[in-house]
């Protein structure tokens, strides 16, 4: 054993170096604190994807949006069109992953104030009379597939059936974390922030567990996706 | 001569006695005499104190006014009325209060002025409005010389109506400042 020791040490050291270096490359940018970016699928498709070169002019984009807003509002079918994944993804192919993330946060940020109003149009397709909008936050750098996030949101929202509560506070929220494998299987479902109300937490967990997700987008390089969902109860009075 | 003198003297004495008897007899005669006589108590003038209750100012049937047992209405004090949502005094009210002031100053009674409202509006605000009415009346009476200390105020708001109808007439009846025994 003592004879092979130096070789063992060498191999271990090599592995260690590789791991550390490679790991550094992937997580080069520090994980920013999650900020709420109201997400509108239409906006993402119409502007970002079509004019990747124009992305540096974020200020203009919100105004451009007013027309697509109007046309999208009525026919829900338009949104369905987007789920065949290829359409929105194509423009992305031309872009290097590193370049895009640098610019993307800004246009979405300027849109924050204005985009909240049209959100109900996106949620109108749901069967449950849900209030509040579709909100997807992303550390866009790692997972620029907002349409997939929409899928998750849509599935879980449909399964989530929160009951009326007799509580003292005006709003309730809990957070559930889970992982999606490449094949779309959900695992590691756990409650990472409780609402303080047992039945409410349990219903959120149940909603996640009952959801079936499609496989992760092929363009996504990771082996799994970590997802945290905030379940917010809007006050009914 | 001496005998005649004696007879005359005796006669005069008898006459004088008779006169005296007559005179004294007149004084002792009972009241069959038709001449009006002075009342007995005139003889005791020096101990007479004029009782207040015997000054018949308002009550003309000779009854005694006792403010502790009588309601102010019984000795002539009258309520005043107000316009909707108002606590100001109009000319009519001021006239009534002027009369009330005279009575109250004379009677010297402690009186409770209560403010009332019609049923429109909330219980709470009507309590406050009723008090404003009572205060307005008290302040006006005080300005006419009625001592402040003799007037207490309270408010019943809409809770002690005089008329239980839901008509303008009933409402008008209830918007008042009322005088009562405290």
């Amino acid at each position: 054993m003592t004879r092979g020791m130096p070789y063992s040490v060498l191999v271990h050291a090599l592995v260690l170096v590789l791991v550390v270096v490679y790991g550094n490359r992937v997580t080069r940018r520090p994980v920013e604190p999650m900020h709420a970016i109201p997400f509108r699928l239409v906006h993402a498709v119409a502007a970002d994807r079509e004019n990747p070169v124009d992305v540096p002019e974020p200020v203009i984009e919100p105004e451009k949006q007013s027309e697509p807003e109007a046309t999208v509002e009525t026919p829900p079918e338009q949104k369905v069109e987007l789920t065949p994944k290829e359409v929105p993804v194509k423009p992305l192919e031309d872009k290097k992953p590193e370049k895009k993330p640098e610019v993307k946060p800004r246009p979405q940020e300027t849109v924050v104030a204005r985009e909240t109003a049209p959100d109900p149009t996106v949620s109108a397709e749901k069967s449950a009379p849900a209030a509040g909008g579709l909100q997807v936050q992303g550390t866009d750098s790692d997972f620029p597939f907002d349409w997939y996030l929409m899928q998750i949101k849509s599935m879980v929202d449909r399964n989530w059936k929160p009951r009326q509560l007799g509580f003292g506070k005006s709003s309730i929220t809990c957070t559930v974390h889970f992982e999606v494998s490449r094949g779309g299987a959900i695992s590691g479902v756990s409650l990472i922030a409780s609402s303080g109300i047992g039945v409410y937490d349990r219903e959120a967990l149940r909603a996640v567990e009952a959801s079936r997700l499609p496989p992760l987008p092929p363009r996504f390089s990771g082996s799994r996706l970590g997802v945290a969902i905030n379940f917010n109860l809007e006050p009914d009075y | 001569m001496e005998l005649q003198h004696k007879r005359v003297t005796v006669l005069a004495l008898i006459l004088m006695a008779g006169l005296l008897v007559l005179v004294s007899g007149c004084g002792n005669k009972p009241a069959v005499d038709t001449a009006p006589t002075m009342p007995d108590d005139m003889n005791t003038t020096e101990t007479l104190t004029p009782p207040v209750v015997q000054e018949p100012k308002v009550v003309d049937d000779g009854n005694v006014i006792d403010p502790k047992t009588m309601d102010p209405q019984d000795y002539g004090v009258e309520d005043v009325f107000f316009a909707f949502d108002q606590y100001g005094l109009d000319e009519v009210s001021m006239g009534v209060l002027a009369r009330n002031a005279r009575i109250l100053k004379d009677v010297g009674a402690l009186v409770l002025i209560s403010g009332h409202c019609d049923e429109r509006g909330t219980v709470e605000y009507n309590l406050a409005l009723g008090e404003k009415r009572a205060r307005a009346v008290r302040d006006y009476l005080a300005s006419l010389g009625v001592p402040q200390g003799r007037m207490l105020i309270t408010s019943y708001g809409e809770n002690k109506p005089f008329s239980v109808g839901h008509t303008d007439q009933a409402w008008a009846q209830n918007r008042r400042a009322h005088f009562e025994r405290p």
């Binding site: 054993m1 791991v19 849900a130 790692d142 009951r163 009326q164 007799g166 905030n230 | 219980v123 019943y156």
Partner: protein
């Protein structure tokens, strides 16, 4: 030689362990680097109720007495769950498919043994109640009570409260009551009724006007205004002993008391200074602070939950309107701008809205509004006649108010979510100034 090899051995072991540790860390880092974390927000306004099946209680023994008791307790539990507005109740498994029970309530009643019954004294029933999930029947609550006949209702209320807390995450109002003033002419007395309209009892009989009652935060006292002795004064009734004590009777008006949630002081309107102003007053009647100083009418104070600010009515602009100020009297802002006459503001225990009365064309109507002054909603239409004196239930969802729609003022309860009404008191005498307990 052996010593050298020994140290070499331990040294190599140490290095191996260190490297293995590093490898583990490294792989963990790489694994984390491989999966990204996204955050999604989902928001819904709840409209579903929790489905609970309430089975009739099994009568194990005790004949008629036990059967009646069991029947009453079951009915009261059912009523409590329905009145909460949070539960959809069923009484049998024979229901349409859409009705899928999540919970089940079962129970048993045992009557007194024969020798207990013949002893002449009233013997209590033994009541066991359970709440369980359905259909797996996992027991969540199991309670055992020994109520006398007069305690059966409160037993059912107590259990229903526990059920609501467990399945709907909130404090139930099943044990709450409403105090109010009933009577006409110059006699009005305080009465207390259970929140479901039962158990009416009279608490004053002093031959004068008693009104504007208010509960202390722990319900141990009811303060009220009385004309006892001819002058208005603020009194307090101990709900345990029935004894009444005078808090204060300063000249003029003393009314509209509202307790702060810590039970240490009250807001009250006093006109000793010439016109009604809002004061903070200790429970012993001592004046803590005068909050308003205007030469106009300031009345109807009501604390915001938390006690940082309060709403009150002032007619400084000529007509009564609602204002909000901080507890030290600063930061005044006007709340109501619509309507010529707004009074009786009361802040919901949830802090999210206020109820008050507005007068429109000689008719007072019930209104809800947000503390920002936005979202004003008139709750009662003209068919409801005059609606006044709202008072919130501790769940912030129900409120009691008076209405003379039937010709005489009676108490009604409003559910702000379902926008539904139910009558709480009946009879010929007017009921006014209600207050919901805590």
């Amino acid at each position: 030689m052996s010593q050298l090899s020994m140290s070499q051995l331990s040294m190599s072991k140490l290095i191996t362990i260190l490297l293995a540790f590093c490898a583990v860390i490294g792989s963990a880092v790489s694994a984390a680097a491989q999966s990204s974390d996204v955050v999604i927000d989902i928001t819904q306004r709840p409209y579903l109720k929790t489905d609970v099946l309430v089975m009739p209680l099994d009568i194990l023994s005790g004949g008629q007495t036990a059967a009646r008791g069991g029947d009453l307790i079951g009915a009261v539990i059912l009523g409590d769950l329905d009145l909460s507005g949070l539960i959809r109740t069923g009484i049998s498994t024979d229901t349409p498919d859409s009705f899928q029970f999540e919970y089940l309530i079962e129970g048993r009643v045992e009557g007194p043994l024969l020798d207990e019954a013949t002893s002449g004294e009233e013997a209590p029933l033994t009541v066991s109640l359970e709440l369980m999930t359905y259909p797996d029947r996992q027991i969540l609550l199991s309670k055992r009570y020994r109520p006398l006949a007069g305690q059966q209702r409160v037993t059912a209320h107590h259990f229903a409260n526990l059920v609501l807390d467990m399945v709907a995450g909130g404090k139930g109002i099943c044990m709450t009551r409403v105090v109010f003033s009933r009577g006409a002419g110059d006699r009005r007395d305080l009465y207390v009724v259970d929140y479901d309209g039962e158990g009416l009892l009279r608490v004053t009989a002093n031959r004068t006007l008693n009104l504007c009652p208010s509960w202390s935060p722990d319900n141990s006292e009811i303060t009220f205004t009385s004309y006892h002795g001819g002058q208005q004064g603020l009194y307090s009734l101990d709900t345990g002993t029935g004894k009444v004590r005078k808090i204060l009777a300063l000249g003029g008006l003393n009314y509209g008391a509202d307790w702060r949630s810590d039970g240490k002081e009250l807001l009250v309107s006093l006109s000793q200074g010439g016109d009604p102003e809002i004061y903070r007053v200790g429970t012993d009647g001592s004046i803590i602070k005068r909050l308003t100083v205007w030469p106009s009418i300031e009345i109807s104070p009501s604390w915001a939950p938390g006690g940082g600010e309060l709403v009150f009515t002032s007619d400084r602009t000529g007509t009564p309107q609602l204002y909000i100020i901080d507890k030290d009297g600063s930061g005044r802002r006007r709340l109501t701008f619509e309507g010529q006459y707004n009074d009786s503001g009361t802040w919901s225990p949830r802090g999210d809205q206020l109820a008050y009365a507005t007068r429109i064309e000689n008719l007072t109507r019930l209104v809800l509004i947000k503390p920002t002054g936005e979202d004003r909603r008139i709750v009662t239409g003209p068919r409801w006649g005059n609606c006044e004196d709202p008072s919130w239930a501790p769940d912030g969802r129900h409120l009691v108010f008076t209405s003379d729609r039937s010709g005489v003022f009676k108490l009604y309860v409003y559910d702000v979510v379902e926008e539904s009404f139910r009558q709480l008191t009946f009879g010929d005498d007017p009921d006014i100034t209600p207050a919901w307990s805590n």
